[in-house]
């Protein structure tokens, strides 16, 4: 028996999310009295792979093949299922991100394992296997029972505490069995934004809504994000208007984020918007309308005009940062 976690890499590196996943897998392994095992697909150096051990992975399966450089759902699922069978994995852990959502359901069919997507806690019971997950686009939670012998979980980001442990992991090169017929999709072109904090990784997100008035008035918002070391985001009307790129849209139909701090500037807080940001630890709202629904979701707020407040906000952050 084991708990298997799939640790995706980004240009050969892991990130906070990877360590959160391993910490979560390790905690489930402890509950089950067994070990956490990780599988990595793609080109990752040994030193980087070893880092997974610091969070409790006992063994790391390293799968490298030129063909596997880019995500291909079908062969990736096949490989993960092969490792799961080899290690007799009872529980499989994935991220609830683009890759996890692409691969986990396929693995679940291969292993005939029930899937719980967007889980936010450790299982509350092992027999029956019960775990809490988000439903209704984050407006509610459900306790779901997985009845199959094997279980597939995708973990909602920033919901489990990262825990370092004293542990040395062994690395094993794994040669999967696959054929050319498994590769029926091909990545032709990759366009990545570099040098910018990814919205889904950011600890702090500064977000603007229609209350920002026009796309030319975004500079102070960007400056605030910069002094805070955060990323910028926007509400749906703003991306629909083309004021900001659609990658910045957070909300029910855009990106779902869970930063430590979410600052909503000139966003009224429609229920669809809140669905995408309500998992943030702290929410700050600035809006001229004191009855705007965003204030019901916010921890801190200022009733007033964003453009009057932003320069003071930036200055105050600079001062507080300078004080150390």
């Amino acid at each position: 028996m084991s708990v298997l976690v799939y640790t995706e890499n980004w240009d050969g590196k892991f990130k906070k999310l990877s360590f959160e996943l391993v910490s979560y897998a390790k905690a489930i392994a402890d509950q089950l009295n067994t070990e956490a095992v990780a599988v990595s697909i793609g080109n990752v150096e040994e030193d980087e792979l070893k880092k997974l051990g610091n969070y409790g992975a006992k063994k790391i399966f390293n799968v490298q093949d030129e063909k596997l450089k880019n995500l291909a759902n079908q062969p990736y699922a096949k490989i993960i299922a092969q490792v799961a069978e080899k290690e007799d994995a009872n529980v499989l852990v994935f991220a609830n991100n683009f890759t996890g959502k692409a691969v986990a359901p396929r693995v679940s069919v291969k292993l005939k394992a029930g899937l719980a997507g967007g889980v936010i806690e450790l299982p509350s019971s092992l027999d029956p296997f019960m775990v809490k997950r988000k439903v209704f686009t984050n407006k509610a939670f459900a306790n779901i029972k997985i009845k199959s012998e094997k279980k597939v979980l995708t973990l909602f980001q920033n919901s489990f505490e990262i825990k370092e442990t004293e542990n040395a992991a062994s690395i094993e090169n794994f040669t999967p069995e696959f054929s050319d017929a498994d590769f029926r999709t091909e990545v032709k072109e990759v366009n990545k934004v570099t040098g910018k904090i990814l919205l889904t990784d950011a600890e702090i997100v500064v977000s603007g809504g229609r209350g920002m008035k026009s796309p030319e008035k975004w500079e102070p918002l960007e400056e605030l994000a910069e002094v805070l070391g955060g990323a910028t985001a926007c509400s749906r009307p703003v991306s629909d208007e083309g004021w900001r790129p659609h990658e910045e849209h957070v909300g029910q139909t855009g990106k779902i984020i869970a930063p430590n701090l979410y600052i909503a500037l000139g966003i009224s807080g429609a229920i669809q918007h809140l669905g995408g940001v309500s998992s943030s630890k702290i929410i700050v709202a600035v809006n001229t309308d004191k009855d705007a629904p965003i204030f019901e979701a916010a921890d801190y707020g200022i009733v007033g005009d964003v453009h009057k407040i932003l320069p003071q906000f930036i200055e105050a952050v600079k001062e507080v940062k300078a004080e150390g």
């Binding site: 759902n73 683009f98 359901p105 997507g117 209704f136 032709k188 990759v190 940062k321």
Partner: protein, 247 residues
């Protein structure tokens, strides 16, 4: 060439979520039902592709797993422009069960499109499961889809960027925002025509569910917002630093 769009019947996105019977059941009182927003965008794109294909794409169908109460949603999909529809007459159970039902319909198509998630149970699983059951390739988080001749060109969203991916047919595309600009709104003519389009009701095939819901919870109520005067932004920043420990 034929395209199938899998749709689900979900509460309107502004619905206030409530539960009943000891929080075991979703309370549907007063709920307006709609086509799941991502599925509606997928359908819109499928219709655009068909119209631009010069007859090469001969048909766009929709499929839904659900009881009779979901028929207005199917009729809406027909009114938007789908040529015909399938409804598997059963309770949707779980993602595995739904995918098993859809597989029987999907196997006769060249392209199957599913929304990346449904706005109710939000498992993001049916499309991926269906592709695996069919043993077809799948491409997920699709934000653009073009078909020229037999070439399929897909834009896929990844962390911090996008990829352009090609796929062989048949395949399952799991689509998200961006695939179509706006969902199509049914016109009066479409609504009239929808009544005459075939809506095939199928008996479910024998299949199991691997998961079931025990009960539901609402998030704990939030404490009231702490308001800071607009003349005193520094106080807010100090609270964020010292009290919330967020900066």
């Amino acid at each position: 060439m034929k395209i199938l769009v899998c749709i689900s019947n979900v509460p309107d996105t502004t619905t206030k979520i409530k539960f009943k019977e000891d929080n075991k059941v979703f309370d549907t009182t007063g709920v307006q039902w709609i086509i799941n927003p991502w599925d509606e965008l997928a359908l819109t794109r499928a219709l655009e592709l068909k119209e631009g294909s010069g007859g090469k794409i001969e048909k766009v169908s929709v499929a839904l797993v659900g009881d009779k109460s979901s028929e207005p949603t199917i009729r809406k999909a027909l009114a938007i422009g789908a040529d015909d529809a399938f409804r598997v007459d059963t309770d949707p159970g779980d993602s595995f069960y739904v995918a098993t039902q859809l597989k029987e319909i999907a196997k006769d198509y060249d392209i199957v499109l599913c929304g990346i998630e449904s706005s109710d149970y939000t498992s993001s699983a049916v499309g991926g499961m269906l592709s695996e059951m069919l043993e077809w390739p799948s491409v997920s988080s699709v934000s653009r889809l073009n078909i020229e001749g037999d070439d399929v060109s897909i834009r896929r969203e990844i962390d911090g960027g996008q990829e352009i991916v090609s796929s062989q047919m048949p395949f399952v595309g799991i689509v998200q925002k961006g695939i179509a600009l706006e969902p199509r709104i049914p016109a009066m003519r479409g609504i009239m025509m929808a009544r005459k389009k075939p809506l095939n009701v199928l008996e479910p095939i024998e299949a199991e569910t691997l998961t079931e819901y025990e009960n539901f919870e609402m998030p704990p109520p939030k404490a009231a917002v702490k308001l800071v005067d607009e003349e005193n932004v520094k106080e807010l920043v100090e609270l964020l630093k010292n009290e919330a420990k967020a900066i």
